[in-house]
């Protein structure tokens, strides 16, 4: 993990070297992503996929913002807040109460008020908390978070108690039945906010924060005002979390005390952890992954979703301590490169064949998830699962296409599997076939779980058995040696 | 030969500290490990004790390879470790601190003389009057004596002493020196880490000098005294 910080700081350096913002490749990345995602709903509607995916993306972006804001504290500041959901609640209630009780209140003013409220609350709570470290900080934030929750839960006349505030007036355009307009609204806000946070962590302030995390005493010694920096970080995280809370409130047109409950805080912790704590974009990946898992698994096995969640968490903690993105960054041990070189090295770490495999795995899950979507173009209405009736249904264009795409994916997978050593081949094959079988017999899109499993198994071998890194033929040996030389 | 350290390499996480240290200690001897701060003296002791396992090389104690064994096993074989920052249990009384160190000798009685609280008091009389005081309320010198006494309660055959004189007043250092000398007289084998070369050379038979994780000098105290170049370069005397 130590190396990933270096590389982070290095990227930060590249950005901060007096270059204009427009030469920042990350900004371009943001803009491209923004454009792509901006038109995604049109694609979804054109393809006649379920509107649900628009709702899903809306939520995923809000949670991404929340997770990134939270990770500013955890990953960059080393402050593990167990009560971050309190700001979600504060944001939701600030905007909600303003809109509900002040008739003349402008929607956008209320939206802006939310992060301000969050920052103020963070100022007060942070004033008491930031002096504490480690577990004490965690517990103190938990306690304050719970107080916020209890206030929302108990104060019937003001917050509506456990019923929350219902039917909060929002502009009509948000109530768009296809959910597209609100999605775009959220997308722009979240993208801009996340980019702002990116600038913040790569500013001198962000670097100071990392320095404090690394060694508080030393930072103090060089004359950094540790407490003040921490407090600022706490307020920034609080403000953006509150913004996310307001967006959730608008999405639901209501706000409930549950928004501030501490289990929500563990949720966001899990996202950061899943994606990678010491990376900037890790939490975004984590948010998308967790929400996918939530949509697929927890809803199909409501009785045992906790088991899945707990099992996944254990798996991550043991196999992927740096999270998924963190893991990828960690592979890239040579810090003195710019973004492009780092990407190139990352690519070089896998042979082409193993890319086949991972590409195949991703396509596989996407493909089958689409197959599983009811009433999608791929499936006629009478059939739950087209592939099941392959033989009896006869050869229709749809079925042929399914077969072709399915076979192509399988070919990819098998081709990719060749790049692994015998033992790993069987392992990965077993996982794939098992998931496929589960897919078909349980009619469950296990996409999220499958992905996590694949990554976990793969990384488990890489991390804990360095020798088996040779399982990946090609470039990896060279890169490893180079990294080792640099270290010595 | 009671202890042989053969070419060990040790690192903490990513930072390598020792680069091939080899030392040996004979029965009944007092050997000093000298060197400036941060050259790897403490790490050497920790490597022997199994607190930080070496990545390469071996540690042989009484003919058994103990490289990377859990520290409690090493301790049970008769190696006593007196750590650098004293590390007494501050919430326990002096008597309780001594009691936590108690364990039977590795191979039967320790030359017929089992260490008891009374015997510890004989060597460190000052501890007797402090029996019920909490460890945290002792002065630095008293704490140092308590740490040594606590380790002695485990009936060690080999005593690893890490910077015993650090941060103590000169008078206390003199006392401590006498007490360690007395231990040596009683036949205790001692491996002593020190920055304070004067203190160490007064007690030891032989000495090693460490620099950047490697042994730069090994020989008797007399040889060291004669070799001014070495003394200037590494000890700054």
């Amino acid at each position: 993990m130590a190396t990933s910080q270096d590389s982070l700081q290095d990227t930060a350096g590249a950005v901060g070297k007096g270059q204009s913002a427009f030469r920042d490749p990350v900004l371009w990345g943001f803009l491209v992503a923004l454009v792509l995602f901006f038109w995604t709903p049109e694609l979804i509607i054109y393809m006649e996929w379920a509107d649900f995916w628009i709702i899903f993306l809306t939520e995923a972006f809000i949670w991404s913002l929340f997770a990134v804001a939270f990770n500013l504290l955890m990953g960059y500041g080393g402050l593990i807040s167990f009560g971050q959901a309190a700001y979600l609640g504060i944001g939701g209630y600030t905007a909600g109460l303003l809109l509900k009780y002040l008739v003349w209140m402008n929607f956008y003013v209320a939206l802006v008020a939310a992060p301000i409220g969050g920052a103020l609350a963070a100022l007060v709570i942070g004033y008491f908390c930031i002096r504490r470290t480690h577990i004490y900080f965690a517990i103190l934030t938990l306690a304050f978070g719970h107080i916020v929750y209890l206030i929302a839960f108990k104060w019937y006349d003001f917050t509506g108690g456990d019923n929350g505030l219902i039917g909060i007036p929002v502009p009509e355009w948000i109530k768009d039945p296809t959910f597209v307009s609100y999605y775009k609204f959220v997308l722009v806000i979240c993208m801009v906010s996340i980019y702002l946070l990116w600038r913040i962590v790569n500013s001198p302030f962000g670097k100071t924060l990392t320095a404090i995390r690394e060694n508080e005493v030393r930072a103090d010694f060089v004359g950094i005002n540790v407490q003040r920096h921490k407090l600022y970080a706490f307020m920034i995280a609080g403000a953006f979390s509150a913004l996310a809370g307001a967006l959730i409130m608008i999405n639901e047109r209501s706000v409930y005390p549950d928004l501030a409950h501490w289990t929500q805080s563990t949720q966001v912790l899990l996202m950061s952890l899943l994606g990678g704590v010491y990376t900037f974009f890790g939490p975004v990946v984590g948010a998308f992954l967790l929400l996918t898992m939530d949509a697929d698994i927890t809803q199909n096995y409501p009785e045992i979703w906790q088991l899945f969640l707990g099992g996944t968490l254990v798996l991550i903690l043991f196999a992927l301590p740096g999270g998924i993105v963190g893991f990828i960054q960690e592979r890239d041990e040579n810090a003195a490169d710019d973004m492009a070189t780092r990407m190139a090295k990352l690519m070089a770490q896998f042979s082409r064949k193993s890319w086949y495999f991972f590409g195949g795995a991703v396509s596989f899950t996407v493909f089958f998830s689409i197959l599983q979507t009811p009433d999608s173009w791929w499936i006629s209405e009478d059939w739950d699962f087209e592939l099941l009736s392959l033989i009896t249904w006869g050869i229709l264009p749809r079925t042929i296409l399914q077969l072709v795409v399915g076979a192509a994916i399988l070919w990819w997978l098998l081709r990719g599997i060749q790049s692994f050593q015998a033992m790993h081949r069987w392992l990965l094959l077993a996982f794939t076939v098992l998931s496929l079988a589960l897919h078909i017999y349980l009619e469950t899109p296990l996409s999220g779980l499958l992905l996590v499993f694949l990554w976990a198994v793969y990384s488990f071998y890489c991390l804990f058995e360095p020798d088996t890194r040779q399982a990946f033929s090609g470039g990896i040996e060279v890169v490893k040696d180079a990294a080792q030389e640099a270290a010595e | 030969m009671i202890l042989e350290v053969n070419d060990i390499y040790t690192s903490y996480g990513l930072s390598q500290i020792l680069f091939g240290i080899s030392i040996n200690v004979d029965e009944g001897e007092c050997v000093a490990l000298l060197g400036r701060n941060g050259v790897g003296k403490t790490t050497t002791l920790r490597s022997i004790m199994g607190l930080t396992a070496p990545t390469k090389g071996s540690v042989v104690y009484k003919g058994n390879d103990i490289t990377g064994r859990a520290s409690f096993r090493v301790a049970k074989m008769g190696v006593g470790f007196v750590p650098e920052e004293r590390r007494i249990f501050s919430d326990l009384s002096v008597r309780e601190n001594l009691e936590t160190g108690r364990k039977p000798a590795a191979n039967g009685a320790n030359g017929g003389k089992e260490w008891t609280i009374d015997r510890v008091h004989e060597i460190f009389p000052i501890l007797e009057g402090l029996s019920d005081r909490k460890g945290g309320y002792l002065s630095g010198g008293e704490q140092q004596m308590l740490t040594v006494g606590r380790t002695l309660m485990g009936n060690p055959d080999l005593l690893l002493l890490d910077e015993p004189s650090e941060g103590l007043a000169p008078l206390v250092v003199r006392d401590l020196s006498n007490q360690i000398a007395r231990l040596k007289e009683e036949g205790m084998t001692i491996l002593l880490c020190e920055q304070n070369a004067k203190f160490a050379t007064g007690l030891s038979d032989r000495a090693y000098i460490l620099e950047k994780g490697q042994v730069r000098f090994g020989g008797t105290i007399d040889e060291l005294q004669e070799n001014e170049e070495i003394r200037d370069q590494y000890l700054g005397l």
């Binding site: 955890m74 593990i80 008491f128 002096r131 504490r132 470290t133 480690h134 577990i135 004490y136 965690a138 517990i139 103190l140 938990l142 306690a143 304050f144 719970h146 107080i147 209890l150 206030i151 108990k154 501490w262 563990t266 912790l269 899990l270 952890l273 009785e303 045992i304 979703w305 906790q306 088991l307 969640l309 707990g310 099992g311 968490l313 254990v314 903690l317 043991f318 301590p321 | 004790m49 607190l51 859990a70 520290s71 409690f72 301790a75 049970k76 470790f81 750590p83 590390r87 249990f89 501050s90 919430d91 326990l92 309780e96 601190n97 009691e99 936590t100 364990k103 606590r150 380790t151 485990g154």
Partner: protein, 297 residues
């Protein structure tokens, strides 16, 4: 006024003791484990839950034989605890405390669903043992005999037992030493791994015992672990993490505050216990009787 003291005050005082004894039984194990292992064990609530459910199973099997269950159920919980410690916690002791915390949280989720698989989702209940269904009169006031003769003594004996164990036995002394410096205690020849497993087992036993003793007083349902763990955290943090005396004090304050809070401000009783905790933590982050070490370990 006299009436107020003999009736109301005295009765609420004793009731506060009941609450305190109950929460202490559960909290003591958590506190002990944190003190020695440095792990804030979220799954401690699960031990409590399993203790209660195992009592239900035992009483069901033996058709009403309650007393042996008080020992047997916690012992089964100990097996769970030891498995958890050896398989999951051991490899992760050196990791960041956050990871340990999250690991125990993952265990809560897993334990929580397992209990549903084992016992189904139904309200269950354990009958109070024969002869302890009624009331006893003390100083003119009525009290439930189960609480007086089982709960209070169990709480008191746990306090006493832990005190004696920690202060009067060799193992206890070693445990106390280990709370301060585990590496050192290893260098003195103590098998720290074994000690950890042992302490975790004791912690699990206490958690299970808490569940077992409290089982006849309430309903058993999946989710009771979540209900208890927050309160237990509160008590342990209030008293001082890792301090056994602090936990007892925390439990006492919690119990009495709650008892009198209900009397005077019933609407806000559950809020101001949190406010108190926040105030204490702000003023004394290590808790009332905690040691001044910042940062856990």
């Amino acid at each position: 006024m006299v009436d107020f003291f003999t009736n109301v005050f005295f009765v609420q005082l004793v009731n506060g003791l009941f609450i305190a004894a109950g929460i202490y039984l559960v909290a003591s194990g958590l506190s002990l484990v944190f003190g020695v292992l440095g792990i804030l064990n979220f799954a401690h609530g699960s031990f409590y839950m399993y203790g209660a459910f195992f009592v239900f199973t035992y009483v069901g099997f033996t058709a009403g034989d309650f007393w042996p269950a008080l020992f047997i159920a916690p012992m089964v919980v100990v097996i769970l605890g030891v498995v958890m410690e050896v398989v999951f916690l051991r490899p992760i002791y050196k990791a960041d405390p956050l990871y340990q915390l999250l690991l125990t949280y993952a265990m809560v989720l897993i334990f929580g669903d397992l209990v549903k698989i084992l016992y189904g989702a139904e309200n269950l209940s354990v009958a109070r043992p024969e002869g302890f269904e009624g009331t006893v009169t003390i100083a003119g006031s009525l009290f439930p005999s189960y609480q007086i003769f089982v709960l209070l003594p169990a709480g008191f004996l746990t306090v006493l037992g832990l005190y004696l164990f920690l202060n009067r036995t060799n193992v206890g002394r070693t445990v106390r030493a280990a709370t301060q410096d585990r590496e050192m205690i290893g260098a003195l020849g103590v098998n720290v791994r074994l000690l950890y497993t042992g302490v975790f087992a004791i912690g699990a036993f206490l958690g299970g015992l808490g569940g077992a003793v409290l089982a006849p007083m309430g309903a058993l349902y999946p989710g009771m672990d979540f209900d208890v763990i927050i309160e237990v955290f509160l008590v342990v943090v209030l008293g001082g993490l890792g301090s056994m005396a602090g936990t007892a004090l925390g439990a006492l304050i919690y119990g009495e505050l709650k008892s009198f809070g209900i009397l005077w401000v019933p609407e806000l009783e559950s809020v101001f216990i949190y406010v108190l905790m926040a105030v204490v933590l702000v003023a004394r982050p290590q808790g009332l009787l905690g040691k001044k070490v910042e940062g856990g370990h």
